[in-house]
Symmetry: C2
Amino acid sequence: MTYRPICVLGLGLIGGSLVRAVSGAPSGRKVWGATATDSTADQARADGYDVEPNVDAALQRANEEDALVVLAVPLPAVPAVLSRVHEVSPTCRLTDVVSVKRAMRDAVRQHAPQTRYVGGHPMAGTEESGWAAGSATLFQGARWVVAADEGLDLEVWSEVTELAWDCGALVVPATAEEHDAAVGRVSHLPHLLAAVLAAVALDEGPAGVSQGKLALSLAAGSFADGTRVAGTRPELVLAMCQGNREGLLAAVDDALGRLGAARGSLASTGGLAATVNAGNRARSRWEETRAAEPILIDRDIELARLRALGRQGAVLAGWRSPS
Amino acid sequence: MTYRPICVLGLGLIGGSLVRAVSGAPSGRKVWGATATDSTADQARADGYDVEPNVDAALQRANEEDALVVLAVPLPAVPAVLSRVHEVSPTCRLTDVVSVKRAMRDAVRQHAPQTRYVGGHPMAGTEESGWAAGSATLFQGARWVVAADEGLDLEVWSEVTELAWDCGALVVPATAEEHDAAVGRVSHLPHLLAAVLAAVALDEGPAGVSQGKLALSLAAGSFADGTRVAGTRPELVLAMCQGNREGLLAAVDDALGRLGAARGSLASTGGLAATVNAGNRARSRWEETRAAEPILIDRDIELARLRALGRQGAVLAGWRSPS
């Protein structure tokens, strides 16, 4: 069997890693990329990858070779690239790797409504960015959400899922709403709390002078880990957090409620057991979750069943029977 | 020159690492320990270390060999051990490795008032605990606060500082109040935020059923780092957080204010730039702080000068001129 070629638009950390991962994948399928940044294109070509001169050329080739197109640009750049898709390859099979799924679905409906779109989101990344930071192994063992909203094209769903597996990832099916609520809690809230924690330590006074030089000099393990993602480029954090306003707001409100309750308890009885025990139990549950065995699925599985599996915390590793 | 022997009371992660570090240190000084837990004593002896049968015997030997005594038990166990110090070795040179300094100072004043006490706090640790988790290199490059409160014994200050250097650590001088305020921000608050973040992801409903199975299955890098210390044994986290009520309350209030401001901004304009940029700047400042060159100090330096250095974020690596 011949696997469908992949056309990656955007060669940053995720797009660049995708090009590398697919190039070395067992399927042996073709992959090419495009980027609006000439220096990035030069770098990627110098590293031996197939890069088209521009987005239009990459999409033209996607037409000719019937490729699966992957949008790998930050959310603010999405509408412009979708407009090119609509112009050059309006009915292509389309997925993306953007970290918010409702805003992406809305953008596709608005700017490229005829595409056969199934959203995706590989839960992988580092605090670095750009082509040079990418790696063929970035997705190994990572979770990759593939949208399972009612009404989408199951054939494209299978192909996006196979792309994720090809990159060594495990697939989690979810609706756009479920995805955004979940990543608000486990990805966007961590970024916001990391920023808050770092700022509390720096403790800048009104004149912008740090009152926290002693504190910063003492900050080690728990602070280093708790603020690691605050080192991410702010524009990337803003794009994903602001793009998931509703999901993040719910998570922030939950966090404010829990932190406020801890504050009240510390001030009154001095006790933090409820907060600390709940956190310890939740961390243990997460570790158990990570250790759970991935499952295989049938080729004729339905969307409703996929969504149910996702809600149970299942991760999908492959087809039950080979084709 | 012969270095003063060290008597370590408590052989958990920190005390056990201290015994190992001093045993292999360039000073070649003697070190022995004691613990209330027989199985730990057996383990430590089997690993080749010098362990007295009980705390009283270790303190008796400290008397005979004029040792520096190091309290390395959790805060709740401190009063009982201090009472033994007062009984067996009432005027000994005393330090500790407990993570709160005001509560420790108060406990020493109450239970062992005649000791020559200079508090200490090595900023090192992992989410593990117990003798087996210890390591001779735990303190390498770590910051070690040595109390610089007005009126304390500068001779003992120098000896505690030399012990920290002997273990490969860098010394930060601070008053008990400054220490507690700083660690409230960079150590205790991170533990509390980690607990809150983990609990938000698990999202337990009223019946204790997790509504967050999908979220937990997606949680990766930012969540893994942000909740790492939630895996610490709850009783250890509670001992340090509850023992620093005042310092932690100030840090929590600052965090609540910043998170509330971010929430308001996200809900109204949708913008998080102020929060995210401040966090990114603070993380960069911390990285610069970590890269700063440690300094050497004069042997006749005064306490006021030491405190000033600590407030500027200086870390001390040794004496300016060898003795």
